[in-house]
Amino acid sequence: MSFSGYKECIEEGDTVILYLNVNNMYAIKAVPHIRSRKGKLVENVMQTTCGALNVRSLIGRRYGHRAPLSRGGWAIPLHPTPELWTRTLPHRTQIIYTPDISLIVFKLDLNSGSTVIESGTGSGSLTHALHRCVSPNGCVYSFDFHPLRVETAKTEFLDHGILYDEKDESNGTVRVEVRDVCKDGFGLEDVADAVFLDLPCPWDAIKHSTVAIKSDGGKLCSFSPCIEQVQRTVIAMNSEGFVDISTVECIQTDLKVASRIMPDIILSEDENVKGKRNADETEIQVQQTKYDHNLSFLTGIPPNTQPGHTGYLTFATLPPKRLISKNKKDQKT
């Protein structure tokens, strides 16, 4: 339940991000027992590169306080956030990463109370960030035509306390449904403040998005890896009456902070040194003091390689519908 608001201590069943170092983080569930391959209940022990961790020992421990590992190292159980989840989640599909998610949530003009539709659900990477943004009063509709993915996502969302449940007073906002949104639309009319599409053929879902967006208008965003997809999508957006269509690409670079030294090379001997050519000792001394001038500096080093492309984000605005129908009529005549 740990995705719906911060808490101080780890409770049984919480999803916890186990931090070993920047490159080693794992999402685990804080349960004392797990089923072994043979189906027997056994003590839940997690093997990490820095030693074993008895997961039971996490329960009751405070988030952000380190926990000892068997080989003397430490692991830090962190409170899960949508960003940490995106970095640790089990991939069932391609997922959207945090820099793109940031721009999507920001430019869709969401806030607490908004209604947003996304398709496809995929691995639920974006869904967590959408939930955080619209909760407590908003609503996330998530559609995927893959029944198994929907089932898995649902279990995960329930586990994380973000699944909507009318019987429960919890803070869940996410509703997941199996649906081919290109063929059948969203089954929703005039309800959404924003629609987000991460589909192989987003252009087929644009007209359905128009229907789903509120009559006062709203936002649309489509994520596509290929420029050809973008071109078809933009044509569809145009003909549906969307305006302010803009396509962007965003890449985040991690700079590794390090202290470096570049020794200064002595290219000229000053008169003093020349005169004492023979007095070896003095010469060495002079040279050394010069080298003590070594310039150490802090620098941010970008990685040798990094993802240079994730996908294009195309944003568009739907004007109030009363204006569009008129516009389209005008175009026809």
């Binding site: 911060y6 405070r62 952000g64 940031s102 949530v105 920001f106």
Partner: protein, 532 residues
């Protein structure tokens, strides 16, 4: 993208579009998306042309025009067009002169077409592109549309200094994509901790149990404050806004959001030194010797409390005034964002063209007047007013503590009872090391720290200090203990790259201009080494 301005609507309010002054009175009572025609006003002030806005009844949506495929594939090419800069007989100055004579935009466009030797030879696509460039440069469309403001539109307008998308801010260099990444790193969320195990402890001292964020922001138009107010609901949360010096910085962005009044009740703006003083930490502040200019303020602050509060009030008034244009105390002050068709950013023309365009853009930045800190004349006038008001404020304060002190006390009480769920520092003017080290003790474990800086080096230093790297730690004379050091995990320094695309059938390519830097962000999560 469209050409946008942020404007506060009021009866006597004006906004600048290019060299033209446009009265906003006509907008009052109209719904968002209404289109307006600019009609010339009789009698101008200060040599500017003035226009009124008149709603256009047949409502079409003003936006970038659709380009149809046939136009693009038209069978023309540029083999007969010479790029000698001679093809247009009207110079920019001449066009402006025509405007001054009172010719309408349409008439001028016709003259531009007549003055172009090559217009007929161009494809219809490049004809349109050509006209659009001229139109937006000289504001010839004379059409305006109003939209509701949103956080992203406000950020885009403010960060670009008034125009275009994807460019970065004049003052702080923060690009909207960088802002968006800071917001996710800050994990802004709402909760009611009634389910938490520690309820009783929390309840003892504070009367709400929701989330609490600390934001240090001294300029930046209050974009981070606006973002927090935008994403948090109006109950059960708290935004502690810390600022240096005298007077709450101009919160243009939060005001422009048109938030319900209740939203502002979760915000308290507190002078950082007053707060640290109340927390008994002020002596800790002089860690960075070269960064000590601020200490003067401390002594001043101690000496003349009344002066301080009155300056604060005057500053506030000042903002309202400028936002409202000429109007004092207008009631219909609703912010909207104004789009003008056309595009000043796409300058793929000659170099000369680009220069003119940039220059004209500078003139259009109407927000310059808000930079009270940098604008000497404003500062002076504020001081003068402060002196005159100071007298009457003296009487009041004898009976009651000044407001800034009350706010500081309340905030100090809050921070003594609980720690924050997120700390964000916008180090656009002040060096981040002292600020972060002073505020980090008030962040709860497993919560994020996010620091913005327009330059890379201060964040490199901050990173080194937080990691406990020598000699950088030594350099900043850590007082007493090193408690706040070596306590960050997932510490990252990032830079964002953003590229806009022109998407048109057979003419898709990245936009010619891009912003090469949008600021740097350091983020990390605080942890505790007590293994309980």
């Amino acid at each position: 993208m469209n050409n946008r301005r942020l404007a506060r609507i009021s009866r006597k309010g004006y906004t600048l579009l290019g060299r033209d002054s446009v009265s906003l009175e006509g907008v009052i009572g109209c719904s968002p998306w209404t289109n307006f025609k600019m009609t010339p006003q009789v009698g101008c002030k200060g040599g500017k042309r003035c226009f009124n806005l008149e709603p256009v009844i047949e409502n079409e949506v003003i936006s970038d025009e659709e380009v149809n495929e046939k136009e693009i594939l038209e069978n023309k090419d540029n083999r007969t067009i010479n790029d000698d800069g001679q093809s247009q007989s009207l110079s920019s100055t001449e066009i402006e002169a025509l405007r001054d004579e009172g010719l309408s935009g349409k008439e001028i466009v016709n003259q531009i077409i007549a003055g172009s030797a090559t217009f007929d030879k161009k494809t219809r696509y490049s004809q349109r592109k050509y006209l659009r460039k001229k139109e937006s440069k000289h504001c010839l469309r004379e059409r305006v549309s109003v939209r509701k403001t949103t956080l992203s539109s406000i950020a885009e307008i403010l960060c670009s200094g008034g125009t275009g998308e994807g460019s970065r801010g004049g003052i702080t260099g923060m690009r909207p994509d960088t802002l968006s990444q800071m917001l996710t790193a800050l994990n802004i969320q709402w909760y009611c901790s009634s389910k938490s195990a520690d309820v009783t402890k929390i309840q003892e001292s504070v009367n709400y149990q929701g989330t609490m964020y600390i934001v240090y922001e001294s300029s930046n138009w209050g974009l981070l404050v606006a973002s927090l107010l935008n994403y948090l609901p109006a109950q059960n949360c708290r935004v502690l806004h810390l600022y240096p010096g005298h007077g709450i910085p101009t919160l243009i962005a939060p005001k422009a959001l048109n938030l319900p009044d209740g939203k502002f009740s979760i915000l308290s703006s507190v002078n950082i030194k007053a707060l640290l003083q109340k927390l008994g930490k002020l002596s800790n502040l002089d860690i960075f010797s070269q960064n000590d200019a601020g200490n003067e303020n401390v002594s001043k602050l101690g000496k003349s409390d009344t002066n301080f509060s009155s300056v604060q009030n005057v500053c506030d008034n000042k903002v309202d005034q400028s936002l409202d244009g000429n109007e004092n105390g207008s009631t219909e002050g609703n912010d909207c964002d104004i789009s003008i068709p056309g595009d000043t950013c796409k300058t793929d023309g000659s170099n000369e063209d680009k220069k003119v365009c940039e220059k004209s853009r500078d003139e259009e930045v109407s927000f310059d007047s808000f930079k009270s800190d940098e604008d000497n004349s404003t500062a002076k006038s504020v001081k003068r007013k402060a002196e005159s008001i100071g007298d009457c404020a003296d009487l009041e304060s004898a009976a009651k503590k000044p407001r800034w002190e009350q706010e500081a006390e309340k905030a100090a009480d809050l921070l003594k009872s609980r720690r924050a769920d997120g700390l964000v520092v916008v180090a656009s003017k002040e060096h981040p090391v002292s600020l972060v080290l002073a505020l980090l003790p008030y962040l709860a474990p497993s919560r994020p720290l996010v620091v913005y800086c327009p330059y890379r080096e201060p964040l490199l230093e901050l990173y080194a200090v937080l990691k406990g790297m020598e000699p950088w730690v030594g350099k900043c004379k850590i007082f007493g203990s090193r408690e706040t050091l070596c306590k960050m995990v997932n510490l990252r320094l990032t830079e964002s790259w953003l590229r806009n695309y022109q998407v048109l059938p057979d003419r898709t390519h990245p936009e010619i201009n891009m912003s090469p830097v949008g600021g740097y962000v350091l983020s990390g999560i605080l942890v505790d080494h007590n293994d309980i």
